[in-house]
C-alpha cells in the first residue's frame, strides 16, 4: 500500500524527518512564547477590568482594554496575522516575532475574559471579608481572590492553550519556508506532501504530533486541577 510505503519513506529519509522535527519544534516554540504573552497580557487586562468596576480612575485603561478584547475577539486570527506580518510589522527579519506577537496578543484577549470570569466567580463575600479586616483590595485580591480564581480558570486556560497550538497551523498562510523560524508543523507536512506527491501520510504524521502534544497537555491540566481541588471537596 502506498500509504505505508510513504510512511516508511518519510521515516527513513533524513530530510523529511528533519522537516517534521523542525516544524514540530517551531510550532511548540511559537505556541509557548505566545502563551506566555497571552497569559501576562490577559492577566493585566482582566485585573484592570475588575478594578475598573469600583475605581473611576481606571475608566480610560478600561476603555482601552475593552477595545482590545472586542477587536481581537471580533476578527479572524488569520486576518490579524496578515495585518501583523504584512502591514504593522513588515520589517525584514521580523516575521517570526510578528507571528508570535500576533498569536500572543490574540490569545491575551481570550485569556483576559477567562481570567475575568474566574475572578468574578469567586464569592463577593471573600473580598468583603478581606477588606473588612483592613486589608486593601489589592492585597485581598492577591492573597485570597486570585488563588481561588486560578482554580476556576485552569480548565478554560487549558482549552485556550490547546486552541492556540492548533491555530498556529495557519502560519503556513503567510508563507513559511524550510529553514526559517516560521516553518511550522503544518507547513512541514505540506512540504513533504508536495515532494512525494501524496498528502495522506504526511498529514497523518503531522496530525499525530499535534494530537500527542494536546493529549499530554490535557493530562497535565487534569493533574493540576486535581491537585488544586484536593482541599475543597465538600462533604
Amino acid at each position: 500500500m502506498s500509504f505505508f510505503n510513504d510512511l516508511v519513506k518519510i521515516a527513513t529519509t533524513a530530510e523529511y524527518r528533519n522537516y517534521i522535527l523542525q516544524g514540530f519544534l517551531n510550532t511548540l516554540a511559537i505556541t509557548f512564547i505566545a502563551v506566555i504573552i497571552g497569559l501576562v497580557l490577559g492577566f493585566i487586562v482582566a485585573i484592570v477590568k475588575v478594578f475598573a468596576r469600583t475605581n473611576k480612575a481606571l475608566a480610560i485603561p478600561n476603555a482601552i482594554c475593552n477595545f482590545y478584547t472586542t477587536v481581537f475577539r471580533g476578527t479572524p486570527v488569520a486576518l490579524q496575522l496578515f495585518i501583523f506580518v504584512f502591514a504593522l510589522f513588515a520589517i525584514p527579519g521580523f516575521k517570526v516575532y510578528a507571528v508570535i506577537l500576533c498569536f500572543g496578543i490574540n490569545s491575551g484577549a481570550y485569556v483576559s475574559e477567562n481570567i475575568r470570569a474566574g475572578i468574578m466567580s469567586v464569592d463577593s463575600g471573600q473580598m468583603e471579608a478581606g477588606t473588612s479586616l483592613g486589608l486593601s483590595e489589592i492585597k485581598t485580591m492577591r492573597k485570597v481572590i486570585i488563588p481561588q480564581a486560578i482554580k476556576n480558570v485552569i480548565p478554560a486556560i487549558g482549552n485556550e492553550i490547546i486552541a492556540l497550538l492548533k491555530e498556529t497551523a495557519i502560519i503556513s498562510m503567510i508563507g513559511s519556508t524550510v529553514g526559517t523560524l516560521t516553518f511550522d508543523l503544518n507547513q512541514a507536512s505540506s512540504t513533504i506532501s508536495y515532494a512525494i506527491s501524496d498528502f495522506f501520510a504526511p498529514s497523518i504524521i503531522a496530525a499525530l504530533f499535534y494530537l500527542i502534544v494536546v493529549y499530554i497537555f490535557t493530562l497535565l491540566i487534569k493533574l493540576i486541577e486535581k491537585r488544586l481541588h484536593k482541599n475543597d471537596k465538600h462533604s
Binding site: T131, S132, L133, G134, L135, D232, S235
Partner: protein, 301 residues
C-alpha cells in the same frame, strides 16, 4: 463614656430606593447594641455602612471621633455659609434660616461651583478629621451571615493573614494569639483544616475569632446565626455571649429575640429605613410604644 462610633443622619439609596432615611446612632464603649426589624428594613445596610461595605449616600460616620465616611457638607452649617449658592441666596434677599434650609432641602451644593473658600473649608476638615477607611476597618470587626472564611487558606492561615499582612504582629505572635483563641473555642484540632471541611457553626466561630485576632474596638455581627442549622445556633450565640460579658463593644443584627433580650444594653428597632424606637431590652420587649414595633414583636415572639 466615649462614643466609639457616631452615625450622623445617614441616608442610603440603592438606585432610586431610599433604604436608610436619615439614621443617627451613637455607640459607646462597651455597649451591646442589637438592631432588630423585619427583612428589608435597612438594619443590615446600616450595619454595613459602619465599616463602609456600603457607602452612605449622605450623612457622616465617625469612628473614634475621626471621620471615616465622605464629608457631607449639609451636616456643617459653616461650610454651607461659605458656599457661593448661600451667598447668592442671601443676596437675593432670603433670610439666614431660609437660605440654609433651602440649600439643605434642595441639596444644591456642587463642589466645583461653590468657590475657593468652600473648597478649602472642606479640604481642611478632611485633613483634620479624616481617618483612612482601611485603618478603621482593621479596628472594626465584622462577622458575616455566610461566614466568609477565606476558602483557599487553612483555619490558622485565615486567623493570621490580616494581623501579619498589616504588620500588627509578627507571625509567631499572631500564631500564638490565634492558637489561644482556638483553644478557647475548642477547635485547636481543626487548625490545619480548610473551611469547607468544617460545619457552619465551627466556621462562624472561627470567623468571630478571626475578627478578634485584630483586637477590634467594636465588632459588627450581620445576622451571624441566620445561615446556620438550628443545632449550631447555640454554640455561636454562647461564644457571642462570652464576648459580650468580656466587655467588647458589639453591634448585632439578629432575629434571635431571646438572645437580644439577654445580652443587649440597647435594642434599636428599625423599620422602613428609620429608627422607630430604641431603649433597654425591657423597654422594647415589655412595653413597646411604637405601633410598628408592637406589630413586629407580635409576629416574631
Amino acid at each position: 463614656m466615649t462614643n466609639i462610633v457616631e452615625i450622623e443622619n445617614v441616608h442610603k439609596y440603592f438606585k432610586n430606593v431610599e433604604v436608610l432615611k436619615g439614621v443617627s446612632l451613637s455607640i459607646k464603649k462597651g455597649e451591646k447594641i442589637v438592631l432588630i426589624g423585619a427583612s428589608g428594613s435597612g438594619k443590615s445596610t446600616l450595619l454595613r455602612c459602619i465599616n463602609r461595605l456600603e457607602e452612605p449616600t449622605y450623612g457622616e460616620i465617625y469612628f473614634n471621633d475621626k471621620l471615616i465616611s465622605l464629608v457631607d457638607p449639609y451636616e456643617h452649617i459653616d461650610f454651607i455659609q461659605k458656599s457661593n449658592t448661600y451667598k447668592k441666596y442671601i443676596d437675593s434677599g432670603l433670610s439666614y434660616e431660609d437660605a440654609i434650609s433651602k440649600i439643605k432641602e434642595e441639596r444644591s451644593l456642587k463642589l466645583i461651583k461653590e468657590g475657593k473658600e468652600y473648597k478649602q473649608a472642606i479640604n481642611k476638615y478632611i485633613s483634620d478629621n479624616y481617618m483612612d477607611i482601611t485603618l478603621a476597618r482593621s479596628k472594626i470587626g465584622m462577622v458575616f451571615q455566610h461566614f466568609n472564611l477565606f476558602n483557599n487558606l487553612t483555619v490558622i492561615e485565615n486567623l493570621i493573614l490580616a494581623p501579619v499582612e498589616l504588620k500588627l504582629m509578627t507571625k509567631e505572635e499572631a500564631i500564638n494569639k490565634a492558637t489561644s483563641y482556638l483553644e478557647r473555642i475548642g477547635l485547636i484540632d481543626k487548625k490545619d483544616e480548610y473551611p469547607s471541611k468544617l460545619s457552619g457553626g465551627q466556621q462562624q466561630r472561627i470567623a468571630i475569632i478571626r475578627s478578634l485576632c485584630m483586637n477590634p474596638d467594636v465588632m459588627l455581627f450581620d445576622e451571624p446565626t441566620s445561615a446556620l442549622d438550628p443545632e449550631m445556633v447555640g454554640e455561636v450565640l454562647s461564644l457571642m455571649e462570652e464576648l459580650a460579658s468580656s466587655g467588647l463593644t458589639m453591634v448585632i443584627v439578629t432575629h434571635e429575640m431571646a438572645f437580644a433580650r439577654k445580652i443587649a444594653s440597647k435594642v434599636v428597632f428599625i423599620d422602613s429605613g428609620v429608627i422607630q424606637e430604641s431603649g433597654t431590652p425591657s423597654e422594647i420587649f415589655d412595653s413597646p410604644k411604637n405601633p410598628r414595633l408592637k406589630d413586629f414583636l407580635s409576629k416574631v415572639i
